[in-house]
Amino acid sequence: MTVPDLQEEPAAEEEVPEKEKMVLVAASGDLDKAWPVLILATTGAAYGMDVTVFFTFWGLSILKKPGTGITGDDWRQKMMSAFHKGTPDGLHLSKLHFAGLGPSMMKSLAEDKNVASVQELLDLSMEMGVKLWPCQMTMDLMGLTNDDLIDGLDKPTGAGSAISLMKEASIQMFI
């Protein structure tokens, strides 16, 4: 099948147009939310967009360094991190978690079907220049330090920076 030429005449290039922006808020540490966040982030980057993902609340667990154990000083922080370890490989499923059996099944299915893993998509996001912003308030709340998070992230930031960026962005999504 031959497809008609869809390309429009390129506009006179006097200045490089600013890239369109896309902002995603990753507020969930569920495997079935982390996956679409990173699929959309990499696809946005593939569209030539300037993509930023703001990780807040349980979403931060996607950015936890593999091997991160119990974090924080407060007993409540320690308890939360003990029950929800996070890291790209340790995310829970929102449904059918079954004490970890669900995610194992989902991940082996994904492998059989050649769906890129959360870890692979996270690495790819960074390679494609997606900006990953950890939420400072959540880090303080959960007792997470920069050392608990993977390398290559942007500086921890807050809701104000996220809103400023979203105001300029053509796509904003809260996942």
């Binding site: 099948m1 497809v3 390309q7 699929i39 980057a45 593939a46 569209y47 494609m128």
Partner: protein, 74 residues
């Protein structure tokens, strides 16, 4: 014959689009890229991506259950 080929066979969404976008950076305007994919989603995703990024989808065909897309870089 395209100037470069992207083999995205057996890879699922979003990899055909992502791999194409990454590979097209390495060719010059006017040169062509051939993507080979097996993901049925690519049948709509690649034309949409090409239209939006201004690259031109010159040809699209199916051969032995594989989808071929010839894209010319804008």
């Amino acid at each position: 014959m395209a100037d470069t080929t992207v083999d995205a066979r057996n890879l699922q969404c979003p990899m055909p689009v992502v791999k194409t976008a990454m590979a097209i950076k390495d060719i010059k305007a006017g040169q062509t890229l051939e993507l080979i994919a097996t993901d049925r989603g690519a049948l709509s995703d690649i034309p949409a991506w090409a239209k939006d990024t201004g690259n031109s989808l010159k040809e699209q065909f199916e051969e032995n259950d594989e989808f071929h897309f010839i894209i010319e870089k804008a």
